[in-house]
């Protein structure tokens, strides 16, 4: 039976980038997530100026997707068949707090549209879609903790109902103290790469590879 297979995945946390579980970049002396993401972006050289205008959580999700899409695993897939399903716990609370600070009192009232637009968690999926021309299913979920079973079932069901043939899935979260991204690419093309089943158990296992 046709099924989705996880082809590649990326973790970004604690000032480290891992591709398929292997260290790919680190910058331990970074003094902030912002600082780290800029350095990491330069390292992977995707050459995409729009990156710098994004808020930090969009940068985080965007960078993780750039890292796994570098080798273009999606060549056989129509744009409208590529879905994106990302989840997190904090929504965009760090960016929300920044926006809130700009509207707190009438004498210091300077709301910025370029900050406000990023106070929606699905904007990062919009950024990834624009970058790669993906036009398929989109859904952003909020769970207290990463719910690998739900994400796997949801994406598999979209696949079975022929609403997608490939998907970016994962968890991209940012709080005032920490951040983490776990993003994977899954499709149904058997191409010799050792197959990782797109199941809740496997996604949970991959997510926990980097603790």
């Amino acid at each position: 039976m046709e099924q989705l297979i996880i082809k590649t995945y990326c973790h970004i946390k604690n000032n480290h980038v891992y591709i398929n579980g292997q260290p790919a970049f680190d910058y331990p002396e970074a003094n902030s997530m912002h600082d780290f993401l800029k350095k990491a972006f330069k390292h992977f050289k995707p050459g995409y100026a729009k990156f710098y205008k994004m808020d930090d959580i969009s940068k985080l999700g965007f960078l993780a997707s750039e890292v796994i899409l570098k080798d273009k695993p999606n060549q056989n897939c129509a744009p409208e068949d590529v879905g994106i399903v990302i989840s997190n716990s904090q929504s965009t609370l760090v960016t929300d707090t920044e926006f809130q600070a700009s509207i707190e009192d009438d004498d210091h009232f300077f709301p910025s549209p370029s900050v406000f637009v990023y106070t929606l968690p699905n904007i990062m999926m919009g950024e990834i879609s624009i970058r790669h021309g993906f036009r398929g299913e989109n859904a952003f979920y909020i769970f207290e903790n990463f719910n690998a079973n739900f994400v796997a079932d949801y994406i598999n069901q979209l696949f079975l109902s022929q609403k997608l043939k490939a998907c970016i899935g994962g968890w991209v979260d940012q709080s005032s103290e920490s951040y983490e991204a776990f993003i994977y690419w899954a499709d149904d093309q058997k191409d010799g790469i050792p197959a990782i089943e797109h199941s809740g158990n496997e996604i949970e296992r991959l997510y926990n590879l980097i603790r």
Binding site: I103, N138, I142, E144
Partner: protein, 381 residues
């Protein structure tokens, strides 16, 4: 084909606290949008559809509790209570799921004067969902969808899929968002709010009006009683074009409608009525007219309810679906409040007068920031 039935619903808005009350107000052509003069929300006056805390609190006295809840939580609890009371569904059953659709949840708790009233994590969307699910004693982890203005339609699509899969027998889809300083300031900074009540699809339209609402839609695997409207298919799609403006070709909306009709196995000529997103921003309504035209749905009567409820963000798709269900039950087309002369480039059939009209198969559309679009098709047996 999907097997999920719409079995009960509710709307909490300034126009009423039941779907029937809201439908009655809309049939009379009323709007919930008023000029708001509240400097705590915005330094200047602005039009919006807001629920008076006093009337909300009065209604909330019927909800048995000793706990303190936020404005949004009261709206949501009232909404679920009303909808669930119209069914025999056991909300405490593991086979009853809960999905919450919201963009900003309890975002008003970030304001300095609110910060100590509730625990810090109450501003988290998963916590909001736990509070609601916990009140009713539902044993499942609530699912939260926060996908800008398509959240509500997307939540119904997800609910139908989870029922189809057999994961749940019933799903209570809840949506809510409030008119807060955060959201008003944000949309003001975007210059996307109209200085007057919004005018969807109209020549003179110049922006949206915000609104606050909560809504509940209960879907079930079983058809119960006279509830014979079912979900046929739905999809979402991204424009891959711009994060804060819709595609000029309506690409994402076109794809979402195409996939929804394919799954529903219906053709454009079967669509009796379209409930559009219709925010009344120049770009959104133009984009929707293009998507409708590309599917040759030009003759189908289209309405937007944003002139009645304002844009209620995460609640919008649910509020508008609840009204669409009521239109179908009553075989009635509601007019687009605020609309008088067509102001989009494609010839579409915007409803400008409330009339009786046989309705069997209907299409719901939604679009939002992040280039997101969703659509679904529902049908009366």
């Amino acid at each position: 084909m999907h097997m999920a039935f719409f079995v009960a619903d509710n709307i909490i808005s300034p126009l009423g606290f039941t779907t029937a009350d809201n439908f009655f107000a809309l049939a009379k052509g009323l709007t919930g949008i008023d000029i708001i003069n509240d400097t705590k929300i915005y330094p200047e006056t602005f039009p919006a559809a807001m629920i008076q805390p006093r009337s909300l609190n009065n209604a909330f006295e019927n909800i048995p509790t000793t706990t303190t809840f936020t404005h949004l939580e009261k709206m949501l609890l009232l909404s679920v209570s009303d909808a669930i009371n119209k069914t025999t569904i056991d909300i405490k059953s593991p086979k009853t799921g809960i999905i919450l659709s919201t963009t900003k949840g309890n975002i008003d708790l970030l304001a300095p004067d609110q910060q100590n009233k509730f625990e810090k994590e109450r501003v988290q969307l998963w916590r909001l969902a736990q509070v609601i699910a916990g009140y009713f004693g539902n044993p499942n982890q609530p699912i939260v969808i926060s996908n800008a203005c398509i959240s509500g339609v997307l939540a119904i699509n997800v609910a139908a899929m989870l029922i189809h899969e057999g994961k749940f027998d019933h799903i209570i889809v809840i949506g809510g968002d409030i008119v807060s300083r955060f959201v008003v300031s944000g949309f003001m900074s975007f210059m996307s709010l109209s200085p007057k009540a919004c005018k969807p699809f109209d020549k003179e339209r110049d922006g949206l009006s915000l609104g606050e609402a909560a809504s509940t839609i209960i879907l079930s695997k079983d058809k119960t009683g006279k509830n014979n409207i079912r979900y046929l298919g739905g999809a979402s799609a991204n424009d891959a074009n711009h994060i804060s403006g819709p595609s000029r070709t309506g690409e994402g909306s076109f794809i979402a409608i195409k996939k929804a009709m394919e799954e529903a196995n219906v053709t454009p000529h079967q669509i009796d009525h379209i409930s559009a997103h219709g925010t009344a921003t120049p770009y959104n309504d133009e984009m929707e007219s293009i998507a409708i035209d590309r599917h040759q749905l030009n003759k189908a009567p289209v309405n937007s309810l944003k002139g009645s409820f304002g844009h209620t963000l995460g609640a919008a798709g649910l509020v508008e679906t609840a009204i669409l269900l009521e239109e179908m039950r009553n075989n009635m087309l509601l007019k687009t409040v605020g609309f008088s002369e067509l102001g989009v480039s494609r010839k579409i059939n915007v409803v400008n007068q409330t009339t009786n009209h046989e309705l069997k198969t209907c299409l719901k559309m939604a679009s939002g920031f992040g280039g997101s679009n969703a659509a679904m098709v529902i049908q009366k047996a």
